[in-house]
Symmetry: C2
Amino acid sequence: MRKLSRCVAAVAILACLCAIGGAQAIAQTDPLPSWNDGASKQAIIDFVTRVTKEGGPDFVAPEDRIATFDNDGTLWVEQPMYTQFVFAIDEVKKQANQHPEWKDKEPFKSVLAGDMKAVAAMGEKGMLEIVAATHTGMTTADFSETVDKWLAVAKHPRFKVLYTDLAYQPMLELLAYLRANDFNVFIVSGGGVEFMRGFTRKTYGVPPWQVVGSSGVTQYGMWDASPVLLKQPKVLFVDDGPGKPEGINHFIGAQPIFAFGNSDGDKEMLEWTAACKRLCFMGLVHHTDAVREYAYDRNSDVGRLDKALDEALAKGWTVVDMKNDWKTIFAWEKPSP
Amino acid sequence: MRKLSRCVAAVAILACLCAIGGAQAIAQTDPLPSWNDGASKQAIIDFVTRVTKEGGPDFVAPEDRIATFDNDGTLWVEQPMYTQFVFAIDEVKKQANQHPEWKDKEPFKSVLAGDMKAVAAMGEKGMLEIVAATHTGMTTADFSETVDKWLAVAKHPRFKVLYTDLAYQPMLELLAYLRANDFNVFIVSGGGVEFMRGFTRKTYGVPPWQVVGSSGVTQYGMWDASPVLLKQPKVLFVDDGPGKPEGINHFIGAQPIFAFGNSDGDKEMLEWTAACKRLCFMGLVHHTDAVREYAYDRNSDVGRLDKALDEALAKGWTVVDMKNDWKTIFAWEKPSP
């Protein structure tokens, strides 16, 4: 063992020397290059610097560095329609041949006629029927495969790229920056947990067990002498609004010190984070860029930001102004001059 | 940056040389010193060696190395009564002054009279009433604090040590061995998730979000202008039997390749793991040591092992014979000669 110990010591010493020598070079690397210099970027960097400063008054141990992010509108585009709903609509069209009765039955009739206004007018009830028809009655494995195949080909109507290419580059940099500072990064979204788990690892580097989302009941059983999990048409848990802190408690079991959202559905998650009893960070993405992405807030049906915006402004939470704070929005986009 | 790059290269080269020079020394360190040499220990080491061998036919990428462990009877003692139920009983006694009506009301009357036979005779209904009275109606923060305080002082009636000192040393070594080989280690237990999260990090090194367990509904609300989560007397999810693969899907979102249990409540988790479509490991702890711990299986009310034992024997799963396979059971115990 002596030889090994000496080697370990030599590596450790050399690594230390390198750290000292390299510190200046590392410090000069901007961890958030797609963010314009300004209050939002500065607030993020200040927060991370303070909670990671050992011996400082705001130091938080790595195990307690919990960061939670909403998904739709916070990490990727949610306009003109939530991606998961686009998937459901596409599935209805794909499966229409096997369901001749849908021709005469709402909400499927309107979906198949391409009348999305009529679908929207049916409200939540119609939406839930479409989701139930396309998200339940199959095994979890079959559902995952269907999601994988759809994500590999479906393209956004305006940007003409895969949906996973609509992740916001500044937020990808933020996720990487937090992880590099030993944060445990979670997604906490109203979206279906099994839909999201189809892309969160590849797109965001977030493993499936760090994704909190709305969930249906599954039932364990045998199919052809093999065990399967069958997706039932029964909601177990809705991870939106007050459901977000409830979901954080249920899945994560620890209170965040850092949270980012973009709509009123994130208000309670941000309030719960603000109650963290130490230094904590609350952020909102405000969609202000109709040219490069979309501009919407108080009057939007998708991702309405109204009460949470008032609260953020009143309490001094960080409100990211997409148009001015983000140098680049998408990795494939040319930076603005 | 040149200086930094040269340093990194030097560290890398030295680390490689060390790895070559130290390989022999490392190979000689037994990762499972509390396990006697034998079929169980060999099966574990063979499995880990095969799935971690890059380029080998059974290699599994680190992100897919999911290991799930039952808790009661698999990682710590569950006799003569599940620890969480001992906690509930102690809480009933502690709160009796505030509930004068309990004197005349079952199951509390029998609990307060110390008549555990009568409590047991009331079956699941009595047990659920005791759990509801002691686990709901408070905030999640208050409940955690109560659990912390209890775990810090309550002692096991036979071993006279803290319950957290009744974790099995061979299993602690196994958890560490798997983590050292880049496994993602989870607890999947019928126990209450919030009770377990009170000790899993300290005792097992498992963070709260890697604990899957039975869960109640919580409700977000305001209390004195501060947000709280109130524990409701309503079951959300029971993580036992078929609930274990369902819980694995719900919380983890990935299929295990390694699972360990000790009772019939683990049968479906082990079957689900056995369906992993690559090399997978299924293990059972068989309690065979009445002298150092307990001996029980097919006829025990607590931790009954009957159908799962038959299945394990028929399918060649690893059955740990506690008496013969474990050199040391508890860290504080002197090893047997």
